[in-house]
């Protein structure tokens, strides 16, 4: 057990380094010279050179062999763009925003609460409704009730999330005036975004959980339970739901980073000052340090969430420890 936990903990390191490498490759290598992007369209070569100097883009990308040759100390090889970011991020220093010149860690701390105010209710309501409906579908499987829900969820999945937001905001905020259109000042400001988030996401969730429940319905233990005379309700709630806990847990954890990154579109449509809107603004203004940090932190949260699930598995399903 302890050996398993330690082994699992150690996998976090290569994955986190890999994520940092990937994000670094995207922002510093794949897209070409970041100084040219930051300088904008009509920049002079002098301006580009200056940006390169200020942000350290003139240093080698991975290993500074020139510096090693000059100072003959092997540690100088790490005086490069990549290792500088590793050092900074290890100290939770993400640099400053190009737009507001604020510390990015500070901006993130400010944005977390509004984001969670929107995403947590969406997440919880969607999960409960989807699981309840999925059990209903499993209970009435292959009847018109089940089929209706399947059709509705596929239809729901086939409409762009953006359309839900636009129509919801137009009808309920603008035409009917039931909710405020823009801002984040009280409970009534988050009701509509939450409702839209749930409606836009419920189709995919329901379909996913229904598949999980149906997979369980055809397992041997279900037949055994029926054979010994358990009622339909007992089988569903006592047997199927418990066994479906593991796949449900996986999906729940996969969704956790989205709690943090917030809903990009919901936040920017409804003017909620969270991390989602911060990311969208950073894309519009080309604020690369903010994007870099957001992508990296979002991934680290995912890695940690995954770790926690795996540890929960060993608790929920003792067979896993043996592997």
């Amino acid at each position: 057990m302890t050996a398993y936990i330690i082994r699992r903990l150690l996998t976090v390191i290569p994955i986190t380094l890999g994520v940092l490498l990937l994000v670094f490759l995207i922002y510093r290598v794949i897209g070409g010279d970041p100084a040219v992007r930051l300088a904008g369209k009509n920049a002079t070569p002098a301006k580009i050179e200056q940006i390169r100097k200020t942000f350290g883009y003139d240093k080698p990308k991975f290993f500074n062999w020139q510096e090693v040759a000059k100072t003959s100390s092997p540690l100088a090889a790490f005086d490069s763009q990549f290792w500088q970011i590793v050092r900074q991020f290890a100290q939770l220093d993400f640099g400053k925003s190009l737009q507001s010149n604020q510390r990015i860690s500070r901006m993130m701390a400010d944005g977390v609460v509004p984001s969670l105010c929107i995403t947590t209710p969406i997440f919880v309501i969607e999960l409960m409704v989807a699981i309840a409906l999925a059990l209903l579908c499993a209970f009435y499987r292959n009847t018109w009730i089940d089929r209706t829900f399947v059709v509705i969820s596929i239809i729901g999945m086939s409409i762009s999330g953006l359309v839900y937001i636009m129509l919801g905001q137009y009808f309920f905020s603008f035409e009917l005036g039931w909710f405020p259109v823009w801002g984040f000042e009280g409970v009534n400001y988050i009701l509509l975004p939450v409702a839209i988030g749930v409606i836009a996401g419920i189709g995919g969730s329901l379909r996913f959980y229904r598949t999980i429940m149906l997979d369980e319905m055809y397992q041997d233990y279900v037949r055994t339970a029926f054979a010994k005379g358990a009622s339909h309700k007992q089988v569903l709630f006592k047997h199927v739901l418990k066994n479906a806990a593991i796949p449900i847990l996986t999906n729940v954890v996969v969704a956790i980073p989205f709690l943090y990154t917030g809903s990009l579109m919901l936040e920017s449509f409804f003017g909620i000052p969270g991390l989602g809107r911060m990311t969208v603004d950073a894309i519009y203004t080309g604020d690369e340090p903010v994007l870099f940090a957001m992508v990296f932190i979002g991934s680290v949260i995912f890695v940690i969430a995954n770790l926690i699930t795996d540890l929960c598995y060993t608790w929920a399903d003792p067979r896993i420890r043996l592997q």
Partner: protein, 308 residues
């Protein structure tokens, strides 16, 4: 393979192959057959749109869907303009048809990155195992750890807005699902007797991998493509909204985003048209993809998490 699949009469004489049994299974699902018809209509529209585009381009004239008519800005749907016109008086229907072209081009070009990448890495990992497998698992775990929408945005943003950014962004991110499935299949197949027989007869690893095993996992590529297509379309809308989408051409994402401000002025037809055009294709592809999976490989776990 599509030829035999489309012609049941030709099948009767042949021995039962995976494709013929799958087609019989698929045909039984009436809804899926209707949806396949819808997809076929869209393919027709795509070919038509492509010819309109190239006709104008080769002759170096302004294509009809870009002709602005400032006398008829934001016009209601009428006999002349079935779905009305947009803010510059361009015909919405013609633009929607070009949207079909953009959607298909995105899907094909993205798949041209995604399928070779996912297939090759998956095959190498599953077939060779050991350190190759470990490296590739590490690679896809890393890519998978970044919330997909954030990595797609990042790549599209650095590559620059437009078709290239979208395609490279989605292609470099979406291969993970295919890679996992192919890897699993190769793990299974490499222990089968026919692989041992081919090896014993002197076939090299590459031959076994590509000539002997690959045909047995081809159906997975088809399923993954069909199920990924609708996601490409929906992602394109988000990318357009975030300002890293298509430029200069009327994609559905661009139209929906343009309709954003005008919805408040009561101009609903632009949004309605684009949403409907998207909806039927995405719905049909979702249903066809599910039916294909049920017919070809019912045990395949393509049910990804509900959060894309």
């Amino acid at each position: 393979m599509t030829d035999t699949a489309a012609n049941p009469a030709a099948l009767a004489a042949k021995p039962q192959t995976l494709w013929s049994t799958a087609w019989r299974q698929f045909r039984r699902n009436r809804l899926a057959v209707i949806c396949l018809g819808i997809v076929a209509i869209y393919v027709g529209v795509f070919l038509y749109a492509e010819s309109v585009y190239w006709f104008a381009r080769l002759r170096d004239i302004v294509p009809s869907y870009k002709v602005a008519d400032f006398a008829a800005r934001n016009a209601h749907p009428s006999a002349a303009h079935w779905i009305g016109t947009d803010f510059a008086g361009r015909d919405n229907l013609a633009q929607l048809i070009q949207g079909v072209r953009i959607a298909f081009e995105i899907a094909f070009l993205t798949s041209a990155i995604l399928i070779p990448l996912g297939f090759l890495l998956g095959a190498l990992a599953g077939y060779f195992g050991r350190w190759v497998d470990n490296t590739i698992i590490w690679l896809y775990s890393v890519v998978d750890s970044v919330p997909s929408i954030l990595s797609i945005i990042s790549i599209s943003y650095v590559v620059g807005r437009g078709m290239k950014g979208i395609v490279i962004g989605m292609g470099l991110v979406a291969w993970v699902g295919l890679c996992r499935l192919i890897r699993g299949e190769y793990l299974k197949h490499k222990q089968r007797a026919y692989v041992a027989a081919a090896r014993a007869l002197g076939a090299g690893h590459l031959t076994v991998m590509l000539r002997h095993i690959a045909p047995n996992v081809l159906h997975i590529i088809i399923i993954v493509f069909t199920l990924a297509f609708p996601r490409f379309i929906l992602t394109e809308v988000i990318l357009s909204y975030l300002g890293v989408g298509i430029t200069g051409e009327p994609s559905w994402g661009v139209m929906i985003n343009d309709a954003k401000q005008r919805l408040w002025l009561g101009v609903w037809w632009e949004l309605g048209g684009a949403t409907a055009a998207m909806f039927f294709l995405v719905l049909a592809l979702n249903i066809v993809g599910d039916a294909l999976r049920d017919a070809l490989d019912p045990k395949l776990k393509t049910a990804e998490s509900s959060k894309a």
